[in-house]
Symmetry: C2
Subunit: 186 residues, 2 copies
């Protein structure tokens, strides 16, 4: 039995708080991915395919290198997944006009359908959680998640380095062009 003193210790409470967050992330992520995973396995695909489809859908005409930058896996791993998705007509590739080495990727009609089916449950989860928790909680959620991810990823989610409006700012000041295909505010 842990003595009362230890629980009253602010250090103990802090540790407890941090571990709670670790566990919440684990359970939330585990449950968040389980539905799409199940759907995917029925059509012979896996979570890696979902990721590729998702980010291609979000970033039409994305290049392989850019996608690699998002996923942070090797090109060999991605290649396996991508070639299958292209073979099965979820993704189509065009050659870039400005630089003919680049293969711009887009979802096909079929790909869009799959993407929407896969994220449908995920969007529902988030929507429900957002509704139940309220707008203030949503902001807190975002703020904390941004604090957890590497700072090199934060630019994707709006202002951060300086005082930049959400307006036209996209590319990170040196890294690749990714997520966020829609810029300007109302």
């Amino acid at each position: 039995m842990a003595d009362v003193k230890s629980m009253a210790d602010p250090q103990f409470l802090r540790e407890e708080e941090l571990r709670q967050a670790i566990e919440m992330l684990f359970f939330a992520y585990r449950d968040f991915t389980s539905e799409p995973d199940a759907m995917l396995s029925e059509i012979g695909l896996g979570r890696a395919h979902h990721r590729a489809i998702y980010f291609v859908g979000r970033n039409p005409d994305i290049t392989v290198t850019q996608l690699l930058g998002i996923l942070k896996i090797t090109k060999q791993s991605l290649s396996r997944v991508l070639s299958q998705l292209v073979r099965e007509r979820y993704i189509e590739q065009h050659t870039s006009d400005e630089d003919r080495r680049k293969r711009l990727m887009r979802l096909t009609e079929k790909g869009v359908e799959l993407e929407r089916a896969l994220t449908s449950n995920q969007r529902k989860r988030i929507a429900g959680a957002y509704e139940a928790a309220g707008a203030e909680a949503v902001q807190g959620f975002k703020d904390v998640l941004q604090g957890i991810m590497d700072s090199s990823d934060r630019w994707r989610f709006g202002l951060e380095p300086d005082g930049e409006g959400v307006a036209g700012a996209d590319q990170p000041p040196g890294e690749l062009a990714l997520t966020r295909s829609t810029g300007g505010g109302s």
Copy 2:
């Protein structure tokens, strides 16, 4: 270029908001696990070992069945991981006195050390994010994450079904005994 009308559409903004959350979860989780993964690979272990060690550490004298209930993987998958951890003296097993079929598991000294090393960076991340975001954001973060996870997991994180104080309430009203080894109030 998406026309202004579509961006002004509340449905569009909602979809955008939801997808932002999906992406934040992806990036945060990816970065959150990368450090421990790297440490683990240096000693010939993987993320699955981390999970087992983590939850055994959090729930001393946990049984195999209980751990299976947390991880939601097959006993064969867990077995591979557990037997290695026992073999390499990160975890020790005792036979329960009340029910001699049960194998109660605990971290060894070595296991505790590894666990702390593995979560050190993760705790640092959370602590930094919490500090930067503030107490209100922390509450929002927790609320939203709980909304995202299956409701069957929410009991682990305090009140929910009714108006239960955080006091002695532990086990879920039917499911297994898990997480939260420390109960008592202030």
